[in-house]
């Protein structure tokens, strides 16, 4: 029983990271109609920064947190300025952005592998310490709790941004048509910049809370990115609660599969789950309206 509960909590924790990546996809897609395939590797950037600052330079946790978020945000904004804007200018008809962000993902993944090659794969310390919390007979890793808490806060914050702020509601209202944003006094460039900056902040936080869980494995970017996509597709494209529920479902499913069936085939299980859900309910669980084709 306690194994089941531990598995469940681990699933929600890992699923929270998928949910954060799915949220980033939604934010970026809403602002630019681009699906950023490098998102998973931007999350890993937060992880790499955490590893170097904590394990190599022994800096305090708060400094690490600030630096991780600053690095991913800066990178995302640069990506938007230097790469995405070029594709937006070329028009949405081409598939350039799709290929381009995949190429970027490979570049990042290779850089992370080279950086970590000569490093010792030591655990990354958790801000909450390593002493497990005890709830009766069940022991819970504090990292998991942190991961889940941060995700809940971020998803609520993003939801509030879209429903309560002027820029947020405008971004949502003008998602279908970039030029429309201009009518509300917002430059189209500003919309995509804000979207990427938000995704950058979330990715940095995700990387920081993921670091103690994923240890120093930096090859996980694309895999996490793809599991994030599965969460998004299952939950319902464009829906924030959908991203959260979908991410959690994928995380729990994956942990249950790893513990009780076979950890070597969890990617295959993820793909089959996706194909089954899309066959039964193409729009996902929480989104009732079909999305417009890109």
């Amino acid at each position: 029983m306690s194994l089941a509960i531990t598995t469940l909590i681990a699933g929600i924790a890992v699923g929270s990271v998928y949910a954060l990546i799915a949220t980033c996809y939604s934010i970026v897609f809403l602002g630019t109609r681009v699906f950023n395939l490098a998102q998973g590797d931007i999350v890993v950037m937060g992880l790499v920064v955490s590893y170097f600052l904590l394990d190599v330079y022994h800096l305090p946790q708060i400094v690490t947190l600030v630096c991780a978020v600053a690095a991913t945000t800066l990178f995302s904004v640069l990506e938007e300025r230097l790469i995405i804007r070029r594709f937006l200018k070329l028009g949405s008809a081409g598939f350039g952005w799709f290929i381009g962000t995949l190429g970027l993902a490979l570049v990042l993944e290779t850089i992370w592998a080279i950086l970590m090659k000569s490093q010792n794969p030591v655990p990354i310390p958790s801000p909450l310490g390593s002493k497990p919390l005890h709830l009766g007979s069940v022991s819970i890793e504090p990292d998991f709790v942190l991961c889940i808490a941060v995700t809940l806060v971020l998803v609520v914050a993003v939801a509030l941004f879209y429903s309560r702020t002027y820029i947020g509601t405008s971004m949502r209202a003008t998602a279908e048509d970039r030029d429309l944003a201009g009518l509300r006094g917002i430059k189209p460039g500003q919309v995509s910049m804000i979207a990427f900056a938000m995704a950058g902040v979330i990715s940095g936080l995700a990387g920081y809370v993921l670091a103690p869980i994923a240890q120093s494995d930096v090859s996980i970017g694309l895999t996490y990115g793809l599991f994030g996509f599965i969460g998004l597709a299952i939950g319902g494209f464009g829906s924030l609660p959908g991203a959260l529920i979908g991410g959690w479902l994928v995380g729990i499913g994956q942990q249950v599969f790893d513990v009780y069936i076979n950890p070597n085939y969890d990617l295959l299980a993820g793909l089959i789950l996706l194909l089954v859900v899309l066959s039964v309910r193409p729009t996902g669980l929480l989104s009732s309206r079909s999305i417009r084709t890109v």
């Binding site: 699906f35 395939l37 790469i83 070029r86 594709f87 070329l90 081409g94 598939f95 350039g96 799709f98 290929i99 381009g100 995949l102 190429g103 970027l104 993902a105 490979l106 570049v107 993944e109 290779t110 850089i111 592998a113 080279i114 090659k117 694309l222 895999t223 793809l226 996509f229 599965i230 597709a233 494209f237 070597n264 085939y265 990617l267 295959l268 993820g270 793909l271 996706l274 194909l275 899309l278 066959s279 193409p282 729009t283 079909s290 999305i291 417009r292 084709t293 890109v294």
Partner: protein, 646 residues
Amino acid sequence: MSVMAIRVRQKVLAPRARWMIIAAVVLLYLVPALWSTYRLTQIDEIVSFCLVVIGLNITMAVAGQDVIGLAAAFSFAGFCIAVPLQSAPHMTLAGMCVIGVVSAGLLGALLALPTLRVAGFYLGLTTIFLAELIPQVAQYWSVTGGQVGINLFVVAGFSPLLSGWTLYAVLLTGALLATFFLWLLISSPLGRRFAALRSSEELTQSLGITPYVTKIVSVVLGAAFCGVGAAMYVYSQQFFAPGSASVTTVILALAALVIGGAGTVWGPLIGSAIVFGLNSFISFSDYGGIVFGLLLLLFVMFAPGGAKDLVKIRGVAQRMGAATRRRAQPGAATVADSGRLGAQFRTGGAPPARPPEAGAVAARENGAVGAGPVPGGGPEPGPDLRVIAARKAFGGVVAVADADLTVSSGEVHGLIGSNGSGKTTLLNLITGYYTLDAGQILLGATPLSGKSPHAIARRGVARSFQTPKIIANSTALDNVLIAVEQKHRAGDIGSLLRVGAARAASQANLARAAEALARVGLENRALDRAGDLSHGNQRLVEIARCIAFEPTFMLMDEPGAGLSPAELDVLKLAIRGLASYGIGVLLVEHNIPMVLEVASRITAMHEGTVLFDGPPDELRRNPRIADAFLGETLRAEFALDEGGPK
């Protein structure tokens, strides 16, 4: 440009281009002479991956589907071939190709069927996911040989018939045949359907083509080529392992496609030689991912047309660049094709010596426009198209409120009203692009409501779009030909291979397409790239396409917008011509004088409801309607010729 001019250009260019191609092919066969046998195996590997790039080219560049991870079909087929090979070591290369094609094709269908119901990029992400998972699953699975994979050296009885230079020659022949297939495909009915799909899904539907089916065909076809590549790989490398293909292979294949020139015939061969050549002949140690990732990223950003764009950027050998472009463009292949058959539609003798801009007008003066029978003889006068109490709301806004409309065959029916009065919404309801909230739409006794746009188009209801939807990269003739081919099917495989009855049928179709173009006076622009035509001529191409579709009803959404007075005259003649052959024309138009002139019945809409329905004269006499729709000036103008339309 006239057909003659095209021919002259071909006569000048063709021999040189042909010799260049022959020389390049001979050199390709001689490549092994440069290196030792060890290198030969690497070159065989490059040829195998070239097939993957050809498959990618078909699905992504020709049909426009974002299946960026299609190379996953290669890894899947590789294992599907290598696993049974262990117990059947005497299998031939042809047998391996069959397994490869079938397994890869099935995988393509399995992935495409659920994901394409949602959005194109879902399939793209799913295929990348598959490219990531196949090596991971394979390295733990005993059936696929675990981490070492399947090594055929050690299989007793495995002794390939072909080796060395012979093997290379066979594989290269396979790649060249695939390239030839690609060239045939681009100028075949299937290739034109792919081009329509790439250009616009709405356009595809309006021609009665099911986009979903066409997309799946393109994915399965592309995957099948990856399967052939896998067979070549297993045969020549004699092993298949988790490391044989990964996400990096996906990126290398994309880079090869982009650098070689996406959508071109020779691009995959050139791109594979550059990218996979670099990858296997130069050791990048750990930095390969950075090199190829950046290469891909920079090319899609700054030279999306591939290596030939670089030539243009540097300004080096501009003439060479132009020659390559002409040969490489998908449209150019079709030009060569239509050029050969072009004489067929030049029945009216030499074209008059006029500037090309005047093409449409010239034809009108010659009496070509609107004259002659409708292609295919024209349908018999048939049942009415009836809209009964149609209703459609978007959120709280009621766009169409209980509107009634009847269009009879053989009449021109004008539909007028201010912006936002619900005209286009009504048109979209009839053609199935929107679904009705309430009411009914009938063609005779058959309900159209609830049917998909392509099903409605197949019942003979053609439409044009507010913004002309044309296939910019194809010729004007090809834009019309695609509509002819939906009425007069010639058999996809037969027309692709140019054999049997399909050959004659496609010649007849070409003549029909040319005739439809002549009816809007554009026969002189038949072989021009449609995207290069003026806005007015693009509209006329769209109307020619509707004519070629041989509809029973034709719904035109503001066909007159942006036309010059001369082009408007051509349009009017074409519309009258259509009606005189029994086609019911619904004309949505802001140009009220034109509607009053050509329409025999007019419906006026206001805020979603029908305000008026009757003949034009009655509309003129109705002061309330005249105030609302004609305005002071026009009223005064028409009061002068109260006698009726000119």
